[in-house]
């Protein structure tokens, strides 16, 4: 259990949010030209870092907006919160 500072609503408890997985995965421009391996790489393969990770979260029981956070997966410490489309601060 930890608190997340929603960039729209302020500090809320984690149970109000939904985790959306790794952030900044770019969709290939021409999916039709990719091999199955490359497509699977984009679709399924995630880094799953032990340490500082960039993640997408959704404030699903609140404002229902998506945003990004920088979280240390070993101790759940949140280093930064930033909106969609912004550059990661770390």
């Amino acid at each position: 259990m930890f608190l997340i500072n929603c960039p729209f609503c302020g500090e809320r408890e984690q149970s109000e949010f939904k985790a959306g997985g790794e952030a900044h995965i770019v969709r290939p421009k021409q999916p039709t030209e990719l091999s199955d391996d490359e497509w699977a790489e984009y679709l399924f393969m995630r880094k799953n870092i032990k340490g500082v990770q960039l993640e997408r979260w959704n404030h699903i029981h609140g404002c229902r907006k998506w945003f990004n956070i920088v979280r240390d997966t070993t101790n759940d410490e949140i280093k930064a919160v930033y909106k969609m489309g912004e550059k990661p601060p770390i």
Binding site: E11, R12, E13, S15, E16, H61, G62, C63, K65
Partner: protein, 187 residues
């Protein structure tokens, strides 16, 4: 026309806590981002939408709650007639906003139940099943929050220190009400 059927079987009263359903009331969800949208809503409702997070603005007939940077709920301060489910205000907003592609208007009168909670123990009740910190919320009149109460999505509007309006989806109303009664009986 569901709005005219009571969702809760009765009103309950405990020491320092009264719970009752207020119906029928108008509830609308308004969504939009453009600058013209804000102007059009302001002109139609005769009041401005709150742009500061977790706040509300109150007019003579209507109250607007901030739900998200581009979403608001507008509800009527008083109950309305129960012989029609067409509302002047919705028609006006539809004409001035939806028709002009400035934003979206959705009538959620039937979807949401308005429960009014009164008394000094309102926040004791919330604290028994809610992850939200009410310390600042209770001090500020007109503050709004969307959170979970007993794991049920609710919208809570602080009208006054001990007078709170709570919105819950109709399908969850009975369940929430029985939880409220269970919790309130042990406060």
């Amino acid at each position: 026309m569901l709005n005219y059927n009571r969702a809760l079987s009765d009103e309950k009263s405990y020491q320092d806590l009264q719970i009752k359903e207020v119906q029928p009331t108008i509830k609308l969800i308004i969504r939009g981002k453009k600058r013209e949208f804000f102007a059009a809503v302001g002109k139609s409702l005769n009041m401005l939408l709150p742009t500061k997070p977790n706040t509300s603005s109150q007019g003579e007939d209507l109250t607007a709650l901030w739900l998200s940077p581009d979403e608001w709920m507008v509800y009527s301060n008083k109950t309305v007639r129960n012989d029609t489910n067409e509302y002047e205000i919705e028609k006006l907003l539809y004409k001035n906003i939806s028709k002009l592609n400035l934003g979206a208007i959705t009538d959620v009168s039937d979807q949401f139940i308005l429960i009014n909670l009164k008394g000094d123990k309102v926040y004791n009740l919330f604290e028994s099943g809610c992850p939200f910190n009410f310390n600042e919320f209770r001090k500020k009149r007109g503050s709004v929050t969307q959170t979970t109460l007993a794991k049920i999505d609710v919208i809570i509007h602080n009208q006054n220190e001990s007078d709170v309006n709570l919105f819950v989806r109709r399908s969850f109303a009975q369940h929430l009400f029985s939880w409220i009664n269970d919790s309130a009986s042990r406060l």
